[in-house]
């Protein structure tokens, strides 16, 4: 290898390493756990990688050893012993230990099965092409309500999810908190998670569900209990009508036939609920940042952004009116 190419490689190495390490953190990484279940899985991963690394080094070391010539050959008996211990006994014992460890971890990854865990609050999440319907139960005198594409959870408390699917199989996975669990039409699967740190995390659909599968994600906001209670009260009370032009156009153009803004429009359950929409991180279930421009783009032609989206294009609506509707949605706090 020439000096030049060596320099090239050593110059690119820090970039390559930082790129690889960048995958270890972030809002959608199992390597940066923010929940008990994710931490258990992360621990299992680290143990397996380190254990596998040692075994790999030993095998490669043995290979290199055997490739070096001019050495005294092993006796048949010695080689037989090496095969019996290194090739049979060692893998057998190690695999047995790993199996015991992995199976032993299972109750902590699926803790709601244990009788010691109190019955957690169940939040109902339904996967639909290509968004998430989320229904919170009534709790502590606050009425239940429906929202979409953004899940809010209290930190340090166990929460259970009833997972359903309305059309095809989806999969519920919050890499930073734990999971995953498939959502199957006609079935209710239960998953329980315990967030341990506040923050905003991203959860992609983890089962191919159609053309916009990659554009189907939701945000998870883990909050302190007090802030969570405030948020729940606000959600449950809905949004008071303002009589704005955008609100009038929202109803006039038929948006309210599919989307609810609780307290303002009649109940509609076909599309995602939009009450307090402006609080959400994204538009189109994790597809675009929640800005007025992006909301306008989405209303004009949803399929251009999310191929196969059920919502029809509203490109016949004048630009100014779309802007007014976007303005109305941006005010839903």
């Amino acid at each position: 290898m020439t000096n030049c190419s060596k320099r090239k490689i050593s110059g690119h190495l820090p970039i390559a390493v930082s790129l690889v390490l960048a995958g270890c953190t972030g809002s959608q990484s199992t390597l940066d756990p923010a929940g008990q279940e994710a931490a258990e899985v992360h621990h299992l991963f680290v143990v397996m990688v380190i254990g596998g690394g040692f075994i790999w080094l030993a095998v490669i070391g043995l290979l290199l050893h055997s490739c070096r010539g001019q050495r005294q050959t092993w006796s048949e008996e010695g080689a037989g012993r090496l095969i019996a211990w290194g090739g049979v006994a060692f893998p057998g014992v190690v695999l047995f230990a790993l199996l015991v460890y992995a199976v032993w971890l299972m109750p902590s990854v699926r803790p709601w099965l244990a009788r010691t865990v109190p019955e957690p609050t169940q939040i109902e999440v339904t996967g639909e092409q290509f968004w998430w319907r989320i229904r919170y139960p009534a709790e502590d005198g606050v009425a239940g309500f429906e929202t979409s594409n953004e899940l809010r959870l209290p930190v340090g408390e166990r929460v259970a999810f009833s997972l359903r699917a309305a059309d095809v199989i989806h999969s519920f996975w919050i890499p930073s908190l734990g999971g995953k669990m498939d959502m199957i039409p006609g079935r209710t699967n239960v998953l329980s998670l315990l967030p341990t740190r506040t923050g905003v995390f991203k959860a992609p659909c983890a089962e191919f569900c159609g053309t916009s599968h990659t554009y189907m994600a939701f945000s998870v906001v883990v909050m302190e209990r007090e802030a969570y209670d405030d948020w729940r009260r606000k959600q449950a009370s809905g949004h008071q009508p303002e009589g704005s032009e955008g609100e009038r156009l929202f109803i006039h153009h038929g948006c309210a036939a599919c989307h609810s803004v609780r307290g303002t429009t009649p109940v509609a359950a076909l599309g995602p609920d939009l009450t307090h929409f402006a609080e959400r991180e994204t538009v189109g279930a994790g597809t675009l940042a929640n800005t007025r421009e992006n909301v306008g783009r989405f209303i004009r032609d949803p399929s251009a952004i999310k191929p196969g989206a059920q919502m029809p294009a509203f490109d016949m609506v004048p630009q100014g009116e779309i802007a007014a509707i976007s303005e109305f949605l941006a005010g839903l706090r």
């Binding site: 199996l99 015991v100 199976v103 032993w104 099965l113």
Partner: protein, 126 residues
């Protein structure tokens, strides 16, 4: 009358270990599946069910050890070294004994692997 014949000259002995493993695997899986499906109606608790499967496992392991002992005997208690590839009746017997012994070892480990989840499993998943 001998409990075990002095010589076993049948290819079927070769499959004793793997057959016990297969039967144990199927038996445990089916038993747990049926129990969990009918958990409300079953007259036994999960702990009793687990105990029953542990007993089945011990029985399976004992069967495999017996098969291994018979194979070891057939192999002449390790008196000759493999590969036993001469075209003689004697070598065929020794080869079969050795192969049965190895398969019994494999089956023993496999039954243990199957038994681990039975011991650590906590409850039926809803």
């Amino acid at each position: 009358m001998r409990l075990f014949p002095k010589e076993v000259e049948s290819l079927w002995t070769l499959f004793t270990g793997p057959s016990i493993w297969a039967a144990h695997f199927l038996g445990c899986s089916i038993a747990v599946a049926v129990y969990c499906e009918k958990a409300g109606e079953a007259p036994i608790t999960f702990a009793q069910m687990r105990l029953f499967l542990v007993l089945i496992t011990l029985l399976a392991l004992a069967g495999i050890v017996l098969s291994a002992w018979l194979a070891w005997r057939q192999w002449g208690f390790g008196s000759g070294d493999p590969p036993h590839d001469a075209p003689t009746r004697e070598d065929r017997l020794l080869f079969q004994g050795f192969a049965t012994l190895l398969l019994s070892g494999l089956s023993f480990v496999a039954v243990l692997f199957v038994a681990v989840p039975l011991v650590l499993i906590e409850a039926c998943q809803p």
